[in-house]
């Protein structure tokens, strides 16, 4: 992608990068699909359960023929059809405290598209602990929210949302060289540094979009000094 600030260096970094996407429904499926198209080297996708008819109206990685089969298998197949050079690690689990650390340790960046806050908070804790960039994406009706979380540079998810609420339960609704670069950059951490540098425009800010009105704005969001997750983190 010959765009300013990306170019060949960015393409190589992306090829060498591992990104964890949880989950791969309406939001996460689109994120994973575009990452695959853009040339990411390795995707870890983590959705549990079988595909249901109600998933199909928005989940672009899912197909009618895969109904009643594991979502993760359908998603992995579609991603590989788009980009056969992509490595997909298909994990048939949702993120939880039991697997968050193991999966996030392997990733250079994490895209959080989970529908439940328990999953989101588990990813947040592990991403803060392991200093991984966490891209928080959420939708409700036609509302979109995106923010990037990076330890020491932004509020974390628990800063933004420190307490549970019943209201949250409302309905939601040049390849060889690149491969070599990928292996090298996985060893020296340069991919993670690239992601950290690339996401600075969204770090500490939240994009709020209302697609019903086609209104977009970004607002600065604040860290809590008494945050139980990142309060003492530097």
């Amino acid at each position: 992608m010959w765009t300013p600030d990306f170019g060949e260096r960015g393409q190589r970094a992306l090829k060498g990068a591992t990104v964890l996407v949880s989950r791969v429904g309406g939001v996460g499926g689109a994120a994973a699909y575009f990452l695959a198209a853009a040339g990411v080297g390795r995707l870890i996708i983590a959705p549990r359960g079988n595909l249901k008819p109600a998933d199909l109206n928005r989940q672009i990685l899912m197909t009618h023929g895969a109904l009643d089969t594991p979502r993760v298998e359908c998603a992995a197949r579609r991603l590989k059809e788009l980009n056969p050079r992509l490595t997909v690690e298909a994990v048939p689990e949702n993120i939880s405290d039991q697997n968050a650390e193991r999966l996030i340790k392997q990733a250079d960046a994490v895209v959080d598209c989970a529908p439940l806050f328990d999953e989101r908070f588990a990813m947040n804790r592990a991403a803060i602990a392991w200093r991984k960039p966490l891209i928080e994406c959420a939708m409700y009706d036609f509302d979109v929210r995106v923010t990037s979380i990076l330890r020491g540079h932004s509020p974390c998810l628990a800063c933004l949302y420190p307490a549970d609420s019943p209201a949250w339960k409302a309905p939601v609704s040049r390849l060889r060289r690149c491969r070599r670069h990928g292996r090298q950059s996985r060893r020296d951490g340069s991919n993670q540094r690239f992601f950290q540098a690339s996401e600075s425009r969204c770090t500490g800010r939240m994009l709020l979009a209302n697609l019903r009105e086609m209104s977009f704005q970004t607002v600065k969001v604040s860290k809590r000094d008494d945050c139980s997750v990142c309060g003492a983190a530097v």
Binding site: R23, G25, G26, V27, G28, D112, C113, A114, P115, L116, F117, R120, C137, A138, M139, Y140, D141, D143, R145, L160, Y161, P162, A163, D164, S165, P166, A167, W168, A170, V172, S173, L208, N210, E213, Q217, V219, K220, V221, S222
Partner: protein, 91 residues
């Protein structure tokens, strides 16, 4: 004094409107504005307020696009915009 309230996410669903102008008599804090709104729209109460009746800690409030603590005392002016941003997690 007239404030423009901008509802997002579940707050918009509960209020049934995208935005509205609320005529209030000099509230001192964001929390007091939330109490007024919860009284006006009963369905908003669970979105804006915790079970103890205080402002919900996970509700983000932006006054004229600046994130503002709910216990903050604000020198309100006519036409100030208050945007209410409850947590959403749809994926």
């Amino acid at each position: 004094m007239k404030l423009t309230i901008l509802y997002t996410g579940q707050a918009r669903t509960a209020a049934g409107v995208e935005r509205e102008t609320v005529d209030v008599s000099a509230p001192r804090s964001v929390a007091e504005v939330l109490q007024i709104l919860a009284s006006k729209h009963e369905s908003l109460r669970a979105v804006l307020l915790a079970t103890d009746g205080k402002a919900h800690p996970s509700l983000m409030v932006f006054v004229n696009e600046e994130q503002t603590r709910t216990d903050a005392r604000v020198d309100w002016k006519d036409g100030d915009q208050v945007m209410l941003v409850p947590p959403i997690s749809g994926g």
